[in-house]
């Protein structure tokens, strides 16, 4: 009975994290963008600093009519937001935030493969949305999504493989457990490749060609309204949480910190994740969008060779120090 209670409690906690953290990121994005670009809109609702902007957005989305285009493939169209969002919930289950056994939803033997595999499934949602909308812009968005996933999955996997080699395990708590401070310079290239490839997989700027709102009007999500559109947005923010959490766990040492790592390890994890999330938002407001061919070129001619070089470096250091 105790086991059942334990599992249920873990699921509830992960679900709560899944419900709150993406919204926190969304709110932060509003505010950070408003400050960086001198936008007045997001600073108005509710009075002080526009704190109610997120609530207003939620109410707006809930009020909108849920429209399915006449020519669309109804079932696939309606299923797509769920397919896009749920994988991130599953990934959150496997990310450890602290050293104790209670600080992770579920310890998986091959955790690193699990998170990468399930993150890849999330992109299927965008593809389904792009195809089922019966809209040329959506189809273009879907095509670009698929091309981007194919290009950036490989460097991401290779970078993750490098850190797994360094730790000698593929379980996420095991990798953080094996972390030492000198892994930071050692795995630096891998970390950058992983983070950049992850940004591209989430279609965040500057890799937002698949949803480029000024040319293909939000790509695969053109025809979505109301709550289903909100689910896609939520998936994007959940994706940021997952990517930043994973980068923290794999490359930045998770719960390790200069001090207080014993009792307050989870604070370190959250702080590092938050800093990375801020970086993601910062990149969005600073960098122009990459063109489609530049996107492909960046992955195949720069990130893949860099990731391979990182694996070679990891292998050499591993053999020399063994």
């Amino acid at each position: 009975m105790n086991d059942v209670l334990d599992v249920a409690l873990r699921l509830v906690v992960v679900f709560l994290v899944f419900l709150t953290l993406p919204l926190v990121i969304g709110q932060t994005e509003h505010k950070v963008m408003a400050h960086m670009q001198g936008r007045l809109g997001p600073m108005y609702a509710g009075g002080f600093h526009g704190w109610a902007q997120l609530v207003a957005d939620g109410v707006k989305f809930a009020q909108k009519e849920d429209v399915v285009p006449a020519g669309a493939d109804r079932r696939v169209f309606q299923l797509a937001p769920a397919v896009a969002l749920l994988p991130y919930l599953l990934v959150l289950l496997a990310i450890p935030i602290g050293p104790s056994a209670g600080a992770v939803g579920q310890v998986l033997d091959a955790g690193i493969f699990f998170v990468l595999a399930v993150m890849g499934v999330g992109v299927l949602g965008s593809l389904m949305a792009g195809w089922a909308s019966a809209n040329k812009f959506s189809l273009l968005g879907g095509l670009r999504t698929a091309a981007q996933l194919l290009a950036y999955e490989l460097p991401m996997l290779l970078a993750a493989a490098s850190v797994a080699m360094a730790a000698g395990t593929v379980s996420l708590p095991g990798i953080v457990g094996a972390f030492h401070w000198w892994w930071l310079p050692w795995q630096l290239i891998g970390a950058v490749v992983f983070f950049v490839a992850g940004l591209a997989e989430l279609q965040r700027p500057p890799f937002d060609m698949p949803v480029a709102d000024s040319e293909i009007i939000f790509g695969a999500y053109t025809e979505y309204t109301g709550l289903r559109f909100a689910l896609f947005l939520l998936a994007e923010y959940a994706g940021i949480v997952v990517l930043c959490g994973l980068t923290t766990v794999l490359f930045l040492g998770g719960w390790h910190g200069p001090w207080g790592a014993d009792g307050l390890g989870w604070v370190w994890t959250l702080v590092k994740t938050a800093i990375l999330a801020f970086l993601v938002i910062w990149l969005r407001v600073t960098y122009p969008r990459l063109r489609e061919d530049q996107l492909q070129k960046l992955s195949w001619t720069l990130l893949v060779p860099l990731a391979l070089a990182q694996i070679a470096l990891t292998g050499v250091v591993k053999v020399v120090t063994a």
Binding site: A72, G120, L149
Partner: protein, 200 residues
């Protein structure tokens, strides 16, 4: 892997895992049948996702966690995405695709039944007496899988990687050939079908 059959085992003793295995197997089989019989191309690709996902769950139930996640990573994450990419790039109407039927249904059925029969026969013949102890230590963890792969199966593994490398080089050669012909001037459309296949 091969846990010696010391305890008396029976086929389909109704433990929870075995019932789940059977049910997931039925779902997988059903999804596979829909994949090959549906008349909507993109739906076939999406049902293929269900089929491959069902297979991954079967691996999980057999404690082969690593294989299960790799199955999802490679097949659902890459192969199906590539398939959908190809379909969207060429022709993926919403609704039926009447021109997608090659009329080879009987021949395909014969080949499918034949290969399925051969596979089932070989697998049951080889592993009839092999049992996985689901209550004991997991028999399919990453460590165990890696050890057996690189201790007992290194040669097939290397042969397969050479085969893949050959396929990779072949694909590059074919696409370069098509490009060179185009650059050489008038790309003759008359013999396009073969070339186009290569270009992809």
């Amino acid at each position: 892997m091969s846990l010696a059959a010391t305890a008396p085992y029976g086929f389909l003793s109704p433990t929870g895992v075995e019932i789940a295995f059977l049910l997931v197997g039925l779902v997988t089989l059903g999804a596979a049948l829909i994949t090959v019989t549906t008349r909507q191309l993109v739906h076939a690709a999406l049902w293929l996702v269900v089929t491959l996902g069902g297979l991954a769950v079967e691996y999980l139930l057999l404690t082969a966690e690593f294989i299960a996640w790799v199955q999802v990573l490679i097949y659902v994450g890459s192969v199906v995405v590539l398939l959908l990419f190809g379909l969207m790039l060429t022709r993926a109407p919403i609704g039926h695709s009447p021109d997608a039927d090659s009329g080879n249904r009987p021949a395909a059925l014969v080949v499918a039944v034949g290969s399925a029969g051969a596979l089932v026969w070989v697998v049951t013949d080889a592993f009839r007496a092999t049992w996985i102890d689901l209550d004991g230590p997991a028999a399919g963890t990453t460590g165990v899988t890696g050890e057996s792969l690189f201790r007992h199966w290194v040669l097939p593994f290397e042969a397969l990687s050479v085969l893949l490398l050959a396929a990779l080089v072949g694909a590059i050669v074919l696409s370069r050939k098509a490009k060179a012909e185009q650059a050489a001037g008038t790309p003759s459309l008359a013999k396009a079908p073969g070339d186009k296949e290569g270009a992809r």
